[in-house]
């Protein structure tokens, strides 16, 4: 699954939001080789999408919406998706251009939810149209998108339209720190080894990770002198794990999916917030290296050290929120639009807020003006 273009309107905090994953020119000596659709060298797409932005700029919301859009497509169920509509008395829309796994077809799904006076939705209020074009060997995204625009509109029920979309796999994480973890039910040796290696990378005090035979999704993590049990996805005594090690369990599962290529699409949302910067950079580098052909990663982070990694400038997207623009509060800023030369320092650009996307710290400093209040 490759996402090429995403438009969102009246979903969560997004209004007239647009994000594009094509890039215009081949990068010489790129650290991400073959960054195009396989056998289609002109169909360039961002395999790695590092998304940065201040708090509440939509990094997690994009992941949630993609999860719900994918669920809408695969399960033909709209309940979860409509829960994201910000104002139900106004229409909501999303449009996504994508290439399903194992195809060379560019699909466009556009879905409109009519305004609902009473807040409820029926089938007749949902309008979905699906179109697809074959990607020719010398095509780029723009040419295919242009052909998609010219396709005649259809008059199908939304669930019938969705039947046209082939099945695809995806893997999305969220920065939750719940006691429940998402682990494979019946781990094979390879999965256990990845789980074991990942946790030891994060916490060298861990001696061993074992699957508990005859049980579902149950594992034993063995630091020195203690055992931590994960039973059917629930960590018993999570307080025995550091927040980094706890996050490591989710990361281990994700790494297993990457290495085993059980999915080609990954949305990794701030899974490394509790990790030392070198660890985060190393995991990202491995994820990119092990990404399958025609794979794609979205990686959200607050860690500015990631900016020093030698990935192409087009790999970096900044989300900017402007409360003074209610029509379009969140927008994408692509580093490659501002930094054209290899020698341009992305880190320097961010440190000096070239993109005018840095959060305001003024309210924090207002706290320094507060005085204590002795009244009870």
């Amino acid at each position: 699954m490759i996402i090429m273009d995403l438009k969102l309107d009246n979903l969560k905090a997004f209004h007239h939001f647009h994000m594009n994953m094509a890039y215009p020119k081949k990068v010489v000596n790129s650290s991400i080789p073959e960054e195009h659709l396989s056998h289609h060298p002109n169909f360039r797409y961002k395999k790695l999408n590092i998304i940065l932005g201040a708090n509440a700029t939509g990094k997690t919301s994009i992941g949630i919406l993609l999860r719900d859009i994918f669920g809408f497509i695969s399960k033909k169920s709209y309940g979860q998706l409509v829960s994201n509509i910000a104002d139900r008395r106004s229409p909501a829309m999303f449009q996504i251009d994508f290439i399903p796994d194992g195809t060379y077809e560019l699909y466009r799904l556009k879905t409109v939810f009519e305004a609902s006076e009473n807040g409820y939705f029926t089938n007749e209020m949902i309008h979905a149209s699906v179109g697809s074009v074959t990607i020719h060997t010398d095509d780029n995204y723009e040419r295919c998108a242009s052909r998609l625009e010219k396709l005649p509109s259809q008059n199908l029920l939304w669930n019938v339209a969705l039947e046209k979309i082939p099945a695809f796999a995806w893997y999305l994480t969220r920065p939750d720190s719940a006691a429940l973890v998402n682990l494979q039910n019946k781990a094979n040796k390879n999965y256990l080894k990845i789980f074991d290696t990942t946790l030891k990378a994060i916490d060298p005090s861990i001696v061993k990770v074992e699957a508990i035979p005859g049980t579902d999704a149950s594992y034993l993590i063995k630091p020195k002198n203690t055992d931590i049990l994960i039973q059917q996805g629930e960590i018993l005594k999570p307080e025995l794990l550091s927040s980094g090690t706890r996050a490591g369990i989710d990361i281990a599962d994700m790494m297993a999916w990457v290495i085993n290529q059980w999915s080609a699409f990954f949305y990794c949302d701030e899974k490394f917030s509790y990790m030392y910067t070198d660890i985060e950079k190393a995991f990202l580098a491995v994820m990119v290296e092990k990404l399958p052909s025609d794979g794609q990663i979205f990686f959200t982070t607050h860690n500015l050290d990631i900016l020093d990694m030698p990935y192409p400038k087009h790999s970096f997207t900044f989300l900017k929120k402007d409360v003074n623009q209610p029509d379009k509060p969140i927008s994408c800023i692509y580093a490659s639009d501002f930094l054209k030369r290899n020698t341009d320092s992305l880190r320097n650009a961010v440190e000096n807020d070239l993109f005018s996307a840095a959060p305001s710290v003024d309210k924090v400093y207002e706290l320094a003006d507060f005085t204590k209040d002795d009244r009870l």
């Binding site: 003074n324 623009q325 029509d327 379009k328 501002f338 320092s345 880190r347 320097n348 650009a349 440190e351 000096n352 807020d353 070239l354 993109f355 005018s356 840095a358 305001s360 710290v361 003024d362 400093y365 320094a368």
Partner: protein, 167 residues
């Protein structure tokens, strides 16, 4: 790696600086904080979070009667180990006058297409195409932040040329 940080009086100055640095690329990029260096004492906490070798750029109006707090702030900022330089930009007498001088407009409301001059500030903060509006109003960078203040601010040299980008 050199870092720059603007200390400006209000949201309107921030909007102008963001536009000049990001869309028009006319000035040195830097983060912008809203603190009035003429009226407020700058606290150590605000400076301690800045990286080594940061240049602070103070942008302030010169239509007040005392420069005492400003001078104290300049000396305090210069004393901080992580601050390499302080650059002063004197707005004569204020941002509105600077914009009137550097654009081909008679009234400030023309810049933002506001109903009245009083509404220009709030409209300026909300406008989404300020770069286009500045260009449409004939904005000339060489006339913006180009005057030397007089009176109590006469002792402060306008150093705006140090942050202009050569085009």
């Amino acid at each position: 790696m050199k870092n720059y940080c603007y200390f400006v009086e209000g949201q309107d100055e921030k909007k102008i600086i963001d536009t000049l640095k990001t869309e028009l690329k006319l000035i040195q990029p830097g983060k912008v904080q809203i603190v009035n260096p003429v009226q407020e004492r700058i606290k150590a906490s605000r400076l301690n979070s800045l990286t080594m070798d940061t240049t602070i750029i103070l942008v302030f109006d010169t239509d007040t009667s005392s420069a005492q707090i400003l001078i104290q702030n300049i000396n305090f900022i210069k004393s901080r180990p992580n601050i390499s330089k302080v650059v002063c930009i004197t707005q004569v007498r204020n941002l509105e006058d600077e914009l009137l001088r550097s654009c081909s407009i008679s009234h400030i409301r023309e810049l933002t297409n506001s109903k009245s001059d009083r509404e220009y500030k709030s409209d300026l903060i909300k406008i989404s195409n300020l770069a286009n509006r500045l260009n449409a109003c004939g904005f000339e960078q060489s006339k913006f932040w180009a005057k030397q203040a007089s009176g109590v601010f006469g002792q402060i040299v306008n150093q705006a040329d140090e942050i202009r980008k050569i085009r």
